[in-house]
Amino acid sequence: MRRALRDRGFLFGAVAALLMVLVAATAPLLAAAAGQDYTTYHDNLLDSARGGVPLGRFGGISGDHWLGVEPGTGRDLFARVVYGAQVSLGVAIGATILEVLIGLLVGTAAGLGGRWADTILTRLVDLVLALPILVLAISLLAIVPPDWPRPLLLATVIAVLGWGGTARITRGETLTLRTRDYVAAARLSGAGWFRVARREILPGLTAPVLTYAALLLPTNMVVEAGLSFLGVGVRPPTPSWGQMLSSATTWFRADPMYVFIPGGLLFLTLLSFVLVANGLRRALDPRQSEVLR
């Protein structure tokens, strides 16, 4: 960790990422501070004859609307962007946590369980890894009833399709860790497999799993954004950056701010998480640090 803190990129990334998480967590407060919410229409701020572009320069940025308003509806962009952060980050973090949990469980079970458990679980992991994630996510999300809680569903779908990598890494690490002599020593001192998993294996897994998870997070964010972009993500009026970008494509020239605000934020957030992941990897796993993939 100390090594990571000396990394300028990591520091920048960590600060930015934390800031973004903070923004997401306090979205209602921030919106309230701005005196706005993400649903109220402001028709008076739109030029209806020209398709509903915001009146005024830079997408209608003003003292009331710090980032302007959404074309077509006049909803406050600042409020939408901070709530969007909540969805984008929430889904990504939720999915990552779920993936790590499933991956750890399956991975250690495969690594420590007998030959049969390993064979079956490894096959399962292979299957999950062979799933075309985006393709299946689209199919799955289109099928489920639209009134199910969407962010939760998104996180679950992403996680259910994406835990393979974590499981594989966990299994691989567990297999090497279990051959370590200290595991044998623990067994000899009478520890059961469960205790061995908890006290000897898990601590050894934190570094590789953490570094992997750190990279999973931005990846999941991209997936969420992509799904929302394709229209199978969160449902309006709940905003998400991907969805905002998707609707912004038609406003590219008429209201460039509408593209740049969510696009820029998405880019910055992803970049900061990637920087964090990179820094973590360099610090925790020096040998692998170069092969960021």
Binding site: G9, R123, D126, L127, A130, L131, P132, I133, L134, V135, L136, I138, S139, L140, A142, I143, V144, P145, L215, P218, T219, V222, A225, G226, F229, L230, V232, G242, L245, T249, F252, R253, V259, G263, L266, F267, L268, L270, L271, F273, V274, L275, N278, E290, V291, L292, R293
Partner: protein, 329 residues
């Protein structure tokens, strides 16, 4: 070898079986009824029942699935007005929406996705290995930094963001390139490349950075290995060491990655194809999902499954071919 192949194919079949089962199950559970869409506005219940029967979706899901399997292995016949239509094995059925054979649809769309994937892959390999090798040999410090920055940015820009920007810059503002449409390579290779250039670049931005990084790391890692020291100790010239030894070691992971990425691009091209309006497999899927076009959804998923499994197998073979230490088992 043969055992390996048999097991690989067996595993693949299992995966595909599981996938199709999953999809059938899900679509059965889903509240949507494809017949309603097909039947159209103002469809009366009696008419709907007739249409459902004609489409074969009034059977229990198990029967439908059994028919599907039968079609896959042995082909099947469909009622089609005056005569029946025979759908030869491997039959994935007919699209609910357009009544075209799904296999034909897939074959028709595949060239687009393949063009997209191969072009992007070639582009990123050439650019990535080139930049990576130069950076890895530390000939140009700045290049190292650029590659480093690019790879991070590559992770941080979703492909649709890149695509959006490229379209805006090159098609709308500068008007240097046409809005991408697909022109088959057989019709006009130049137009093919010209139209696909933007999608390729959009896809390649990310890959290139990753490849460059991997090559760079690989070269540095290999250069630090003992056998390079041996080569130096025996007076081998540096150029020979780099090109014959270090690059060889560094490209090893790339070889397998290429195969897997190729499949990955093809399966994840949904966004790119939607973005650029290219009539590929991904676009087919998005349309089919919206129209509850089960046969097409199953077909696309199966195809992507096959592609991924095939790519992994090819990757294994390639790995074994380039690394004498690896034996297939």
């Amino acid at each position: 070898m043969i055992g390996y192949l048999v097991r690989r194919i067996g595993g693949a079949l299992l995966v595909l079986f599981g996938l199709s089962l999953l999809l059938y199950g899900l679509f059965y559970l889903a509240p949507s009824d494809p017949a309603i869409l097909t039947c159209g506005k103002g469809c009366t219940p009696e008419r709907l029942a007739e249409v459902r029967h004609a489409m074969g979706v009034d059977d229990p899901v198990a029967t439908q699935y059994a028919h599907f399997l039968q079609g896959l292995v042995a082909g099947r016949d469909y009622p089609a007005g005056p005569a029946t239509r025979h759908c030869p094995a491997p039959c994935l059925g007919y699209s609910f929406e357009t009544d075209q054979p799904v296999t034909a649809l897939l074959l028709d769309r595949l060239p687009v996705s393949v063009s997209l994937a191969i072009g992007a892959e070639v582009l990123s390999l050439v650019a990535g290995i080139g930049a990576g090798a130069l950076a890895g040999l530390r000939r140009y410090r700045w290049l190292d930094r650029v590659v480093n920055g690019l790879v991070l940015a590559g992770y941080a820009v979703p492909v649709f963001l890149v695509g959006l920007l490229l379209l805006l810059i090159f098609c709308v503002q500068l008007q240097w390139l046409p809005f991408p449409t697909y022109v088959p390579i057989t019709t006009d290779p130049l137009a093919w490349a010209q139209n696909l250039l933007l999608p390729w670049v959009a896809l390649a931005v990310i890959q290139t950075a990753a490849y460059a990084r991997l090559t760079r790391a690989g070269i540095q890692e290999t250069l630090a290995e003992d056998h390079i020291r041996t080569a130096r100790a025996y007076g081998l010239p540096e150029s020979r060491i780099v090109w014959r030894r270090a690059l060889r070691g560094a490209l090893l992971p790339l070889v397998t990655l290429t195969a897997i990425d190729l499949a990955a691009i093809m399966t994840s091209a949904v966004l790119t194809e939607t973005m650029f309006g290219l009539p590929g497999v991904g676009q087919l899927l998005v349309g089919a999902v919206n129209q509850i076009d089960l046969p097409v959804v199953v077909g696309v998923t199966m195809l992507t499954g096959v592609l991924i499994v095939a790519a992994n197998t090819v990757a294994d073979f390639l790995y074994a071919a380039v690394d004498p230490r690896v034996e297939l088992r």
